[in-house]
Amino acid sequence: MTAPTFSVPAKKMAMWLFIIADTATFAGCLFAYGFTRNATPNWPRPFHSITNVAVMTLVLLTSSLTMLIGVRSAQNGDKAKAFRWTMITAACGIMFAALHIREWMGLIGEGVTLFHNPWGTPLFGSMFFSVTGLHLTHVTGGVVALIAVGLRYQGGRYNADDLEITGLYWHFVDLVWMFVVPLVYLLNLAH
């Protein structure tokens, strides 16, 4: 087998380039959020409880660990274990998305929509749903990718490298959440 031209295999490099581009997307989105929040005097602080977001954070962080176990199992040739842990990671992603939608429904029930907010500026709803929606889209895409790559790995069409590359994306989604939580939730906690 010929060695890759660069120190990183092409598929992995492509994923890193995507991650770098997506970092710029999320940075732009969070910067726009910060700018709007800073420039709006009557920004609401609607979150009374952190229980839901704490559970969501725990689930997403744990899913990164289960992904690592899956990738390490694949690299050690334990196909069944790798597939099982990849599916557990996908299940964590589904749980996270369900909790997120539950929280959205709660806010929508209180009257917050993209263009309306009962506690003040309608920009709150626009920014909240845009930032968290972009992240949720990434989580949903990640779950689909994990299931698809996991099944193909199980079927022998993909190898451990493909699982590792999907894992990189999943860790990135986890990493973005580390910035979304303080900016969007914790700084808007009602005191």
Binding site: W16, I20, F31, F35, N38, A39, L61, S64, I69, L186
Partner: protein, 103 residues
Amino acid sequence: MTTAEAHKNGGMTKDLIVYVCILALAGLQFLIAYQDISASQMFVRMMSVAVIEAALALLFFMHLAENRGLLWFFVIFTVFVLLAMQYGWTDSFRLTDGVPWAK
């Protein structure tokens, strides 16, 4: 225990330690949210913790610690993009506080 098994177990132990550290840092962010400090102080503290969390995830979960070339490629580009975005902050303060030193 063979060398491969020892490496495998060592790798898993390292992953677990990093996971616990990130979890603890995430918990710290939640504690900061309940501190009686100004919003700007809270922002700085939470972002500092988030940067440490992200660095741990990048270095150990995404294995950038094992690939220095890729690490620098990622860091230089990301820092450049993040710094380039900072030009707008002054304008966001102008919207609420008015032009500095204006009569």
